[in-house]
Amino acid sequence: MSIEIILIVAMLAVTYLPRMLPFALASRIRLPMWMQEAMSYVPIAVLTVIIVQTSLFKQDQLQLTLTNPYIWAAFAAFVVARIQAKLFITVLSGLIVFFIAKLML
């Protein structure tokens, strides 16, 4: 078997397993209260980590400076998302500020 097929099968396994396990057991387990509560923090926790690591690190270096256009875009998106709830408006505002910042910096 070629290395590509082995890798696809291996990746399918390690990707599908964590996705499937909770759903497979879904009808049999009842989550304790504290765990239900903990799960309500999952979207905020994971997405924030992804946001911060993608926008503050470039070429594996922390870029916590005002010349990093990601910071301007993220700030704009944050403000716009606080004002209104439409995801499209937030994305659009963030992109516009990003490209303006890129042009000017």
């Binding site: 990707t15 996705r19 905020i44 994971v46 997405l47 993220a74 998106a77 944050f78 499209f88 963030g94």
Partner: protein
């Protein structure tokens, strides 16, 4: 929160549209990157078709090109995907009434994006409201199939266009994903403990960025959840608990 409509599938797809746009450059660049690294086209397409996990696919393609052994690539991908375990546990109330076969199919389509839009509607899911559960299940399918078809198509286009597509990091197109995720996280910050959770997630994300095999993502997630729960039960106990499940 959306009112329950007669077109749940369309609702899910519609709410996911901004995330579909944000994922497009990733799909294109993934296809092009694999092309440029000399990986066979069928392999690239199979990854998107059968693995269907953006971050993991990028990691695999990059590590493979760097000559990393399959075993190490698999371990790293596994660690990166462990967050799906948390997504799955969070979504249990949505799927627990469904037959195993349906659940098995739904599980395949869990992504950051579909989880993020679906999770916003989970608080409305009470034990007895079957109509709402049905609505949200169809909503999930609308979101996930839209993401999936888009991902596979963009990968294919990326492979076709090959090196005509400039490098993602050069133009900074990851920004679309960043601002889309911000648009999802910010409205979710409703309790003071949610802000603590986000703050700890952000700080820990910086401190653990260089950890091997992307272990920092998972570690930071657990730290942030723990900090959020701890603050909810110690610092902010006087506040009315808005969590509808309790």
């Amino acid at each position: 929160m959306l009112p329950i409509s007669n077109a749940p599938y369309r609702d899910g797809a519609k709410d996911t549209l901004p995330l579909v746009f944000a994922a497009m450059p990733f799909g294109l660049v993934f296809g092009a990157l694999c092309q440029a690294q000399g990986l066979p086209d069928w392999f690239t397409l199979c990854l998107s078709l059968f693995v269907y996990a953006g971050a993991s696919q990028f990691i695999a393609a990059t590590m493979l090109a760097a000559g990393a052994p399959v075993f190490i690539i698999t371990i790293t991908v596994f660690i990166v995907n462990l967050r799906h375990l948390l997504y799955g546990i969070t979504l249990i109330p949505l799927v627990k009434q469904l037959p195993l076969k349906t659940r098995a199919w739904m599980a395949f389509f869990i992504t950051d994006e579909t989880f993020a839009v679906t999770a916003r509607h989970l608080p409305g899911l009470s034990q007895n409201d079957e109509k709402y559960a049905k609505w949200l299940q169809q909503y999930y399918w609308g979101s996930s199939t839209f993401m999936y078809v888009n991902w596979v198509l963009c990968t294919a286009v990326g492979v076709l266009l090959g090196n005509q597509i400039p490098e993602l990091s050069h133009y900074g197109l990851e920004v679309a994903m960043v601002v889309a995720f911000i648009g999802i996280v910010v409205p979710a910050l409703q309790l003071p403990s949610h802000w603590i959770c986000a703050l700890v997630a952000g700080i820990s994300a910086c401190l653990t960025y260089a950890w091997p095999h992307k272990t920092g993502l998972l570690f930071s997630t657990f730290m942030a959840i723990a900090a959020g729960m701890w603050s909810q039960h110690t610092l902010f106990t006087q506040l009315p608990n808005k969590d509808p499940q309790s």
